[in-house]
Amino acid sequence: MTISKMLFKKEEEVIFSLRAIFEQYGYKKFKMSKFEEYDFYAANRSFLGSEHILTFNGMDGKLLALKPDVTLSIVKHAKGSTAPVQKVYYNENVYRGKKGAGEYKEIMQVGLEYIGEVDAYATLEVLQLAQKSLEAISESYIMDISHMGFVTGLLEDLELDYQDKEQVLRMVADKNTHEITRICEQKGVCAEEIKRIVDATALYGDLKSVLPKAKALCKNKRMEDAMDELDAIGSFLKSSGAEQSVNLDFSVVNDMDYYNGIVFQGFVKGVPSSILLGGRYDNLVHKLGKDTDAIGFALYLDLLENLDTQKEEYDVDILLLYDETTDLTALMNGVQMLTSNGQSVRVQKEDTGELKYKQLLCIKDRGLEIIG
């Protein structure tokens, strides 16, 4: 029996395409348990970006949590730099508190992680897979790239303490240049430096046209190193022909405690928020006591639920009516014949008017008869 693609919901179809892409590049599926000890997540709350974790008591009284995230668990189980590179992907449901709703939500996540020495090739491979993933969802997609080294370099040597920096980074993420100016002025940052931050925040566009402008904003080694990495990505994109869908945007800012290098975000048309989030997270790996690097991304496929708004016109192809007098063998044979023709058949005693069908049939003289 062949399965019609029509039967799949968009997110289900996407999962299979993504798995095919990841397997093609030699990534292996990683299956994990539904829960983990709560303490582990509690220690890494800010990485999750959510305060709300669904907890319950295990059989031995230990406090457990329904997984709010997969990356943390994968890194926890990863080996250090002595082990060979790990290339894994996952397809799991995670549970998080939903903002405002006051309730927990099941989130369908598909993600990919590269754990081991991350060189220039590894970065490009992961970026390309992120891009292919977006492409698999929609032809109309945009991927924004930033570099944490550039952004933190921007805030280096300024009269800002850790809290101020966090606040400024949040403003950068919101492209809120007026608030950046206000905070920095308050803290006594000089006008030239404020302008540098504001200009970087406002930059947006394809790498070719924006990279030279970003280069002009560099003021230290950290930023220059970041530019070298972005340059390499820029020239790869040029050769791969995917330039027009990838933009440079320094407002893609992830938590500086966890992320260090390239960070990126993906959008598809019709979904109002970013569907793909990823980046280089060596800091997280080190925090969890492993001496290696890592880069990866996750896609939030539950967001696709509302993408396909075209409704099915019919519930079923055929409604087949029967009653006590109908010959059972004729009925069974009739159903068999219709379904083997690829039609969907619903058999019931009466047409209650709730079901939308293309044709109404009944059994007469041991054969099928169209009645409506």
Binding site: S140, D174, K175, E179, Y204, S251, S273
Partner: protein
Amino acid sequence: MDKWINIALPKGRLGEKAYQIFESIGYGCPSIKENNRKLIFENEENGVRYFWVKPSDVAIYVERGAADVGVVGKDILLEQDSDVYELLDLGMGKCRMAVAGEKGGRPDADKTLRVATKFPNIAREFYRKQSIDIEIIELHGSIEIAPILGMSDVIVDIVETGTTLLENNLEPWEDIVPISARFIANKASYKFMNAPIQEMCAKIEEIIKNK
């Protein structure tokens, strides 16, 4: 459908003032001035569609992509912690978020501070940073009565001139943050409609500068 820019405006004086800005830079929509109960207005010529929504709902429409851009008070953005781009400070509807209490009074540091407010998240965040233990009393209006009746020690609310406070024998004790109207954009719209939104943004900025 793609070519439309959907703009969410807050019903009321602030929204009307904001509309004037949009009109003056070429995004006018004559039908909006007709006095009727319609909530959506569009102008095919320049591809804009306006919605009038409750002021506290603007950020929700924009965050969820029903509107591409919108005008909203900073108080709402802070309270709802909206995930949108805050592109411009329009400099309109200026006021401040402040803590107010009885005239001449001071908070008693030895007990839990009872805070009456319409903005529980802003109040909680403000006191959390100072490690002050508080109890939030969430109200929906006439906040000034709470301390008069002894139901709360202070209020956290928007202060424009301070007249209402004075008339109720209260005074601002401490400013939390300055408030004004902001021009916001949905994050995905900003990507897919970058050129038209940036153009709109630049024109508005020009107008504000010249004011």
